[in-house]
């Protein structure tokens, strides 16, 4: 377990499995537009289960792994405090409530998706959601294009062209670009 962190964690308390579950339920149902800020608030500020540095480290690991970051984070966090049962409980707390809500919405959409009114509302929401996605891209791109890593923007543009314009399958683009990008990051450091 995290015995190695003993020096920095005298004030950190260990959650019980039931507390772990409840915490991730709350994170998941408050997490509109990204659950990370809520997870941080809950775990670091409210419950004191991790220091800010430990949280950043666990989150860096979650970003390092493929797949949804918050889902990875629930597994990383849960396993640190409760092994496999802890990981399962945190994951269930995170995914359970949204799964129920979205299944109900999917049922309603299957029933009423053809209604013109619903279609118009969803079209408006989609247009807005795409705008937010562009804002995310801009925020991510700003530091990358400002740094002196001249190769990074080229990789990003190549990934964009491969997937969006030429419409290659994601694994192809990944296997071509990821090794090049990682090699360049290795050399540049």
């Amino acid at each position: 377990m995290s015995a190695s962190a003993g020096a920095t964690t005298p004030s950190v308390t260990r959650p019980k499995l039931s507390e772990l579950f409840r915490a991730f339920v709350i994170v998941s149902i408050s997490g509109f537009g990204g659950a990370l800020p809520w997870a941080r608030r809950m775990i670091v500020e409210q419950r004191g289960w991790m220091t800010a540095e430990e949280f950043n480290e666990a989150f860096a690991l979650s970003q390092f792994l493929p797949g949804p970051n918050v889902v990875n984070f629930s597994v990383v966090f849960g396993s640190r405090f409760g092994g496999a049962p802890g990981a399962a409980v945190a994951l269930a707390g995170l995914m359970g409530p949204p799964l129920i809500i979205v299944t109900i919405l999917a049922f309603l959409y299957a029933r009423f998706g053809d209604l013109e009114v619903l279609g118009r509302i969803l079209a408006g929401i989609t247009a807005a959601a795409v705008g937010l996605l562009i804002a995310v891209v801009a925020k991510m791109a700003a530091p990358l294009f400002r740094k002196r890593w001249d190769w990074a923007p080229l990789i990003a543009i190549a990934a964009f062209i491969g997937v969006a314009i030429i419409q290659w399958p994601l694994p192809w683009v990944f296997f071509v670009l990821a090794p090049i990008s990682i090699a360049l990051a290795w050399i540049k450091r």
């Binding site: 408050s30 509109f32 959601a129 997937v163 090699a183």
Partner: protein, 175 residues
């Protein structure tokens, strides 16, 4: 690929989960390519609608796979798609979490992480492009997208307000 849609859902999403560097938003173009263009599971509009529903739902954005799965094969499809998208990466997360301390300072680890950032940025930009093409059918929809992008970039407003405004404008019949 296969006659049984559950097997196709499980195979595609399990594979996709391992390449989704940058999370759900980076995987949107590949989901679109498979669900709309390759497998013809849903129309372009249905895909865009699923994205909108996943955005206004609480919880991780990856929940869009639950909607696609439900559309393809009902409750079983929803369960299979979600498990396939989360399962492989969760097992990986569990295994790596136990060895992380050993290599978190390693140079190769730092190079991998730094190298994947621009790849995932390009993928998320591709998501925005693919979705914009599905959503922005006219100048008004494109206008909403443009204004939202600026507001989202410049402020820290709760996205629910932006979705609410988008929904009302859509309802008003401009789009």
């Amino acid at each position: 690929m296969n006659d049984n849609p559950l097997i196709a859902l499980a195979g595609y999403f399990a594979l996709l989960s391992l390449f989704a560097v940058g999370g759900a938003n980076a995987a949107i173009p590949e989901m679109h390519r498979i669900a709309v263009e390759v497998m013809h599971w849903m129309s372009d509009r249905q895909f865009a609608d699923s994205f909108a529903i996943s955005q206004v739902s609480p919880g991780p954005n990856i929940i869009i796979v639950t909607l696609i799965g439900y559309h393809v094969a009902g409750l079983a499809g929803a369960a299979v798609a979600t498990a396939a998208m989360c399962g492989p990466t969760c097992v990986l997360a569990y295994v790596v979490a136990r060895t992380w301390d050993r290599f978190k300072e390693a140079r190769w680890r730092i190079a991998i992480q730094a190298g994947l950032v621009p790849v995932s940025l390009g993928l998320i930009a591709a998501s925005a492009f693919v979705l914009a093409r599905s959503a922005d059918h006219n100048i008004y929809a494109a206008g909403i997208t443009g204004v939202t992008a600026i507001v989202g970039f410049a402020t820290r407003i709760n996205p629910l307000w932006i979705f609410a405004v988008g929904g009302v404008l859509g309802l008003s019949g401009w789009l």
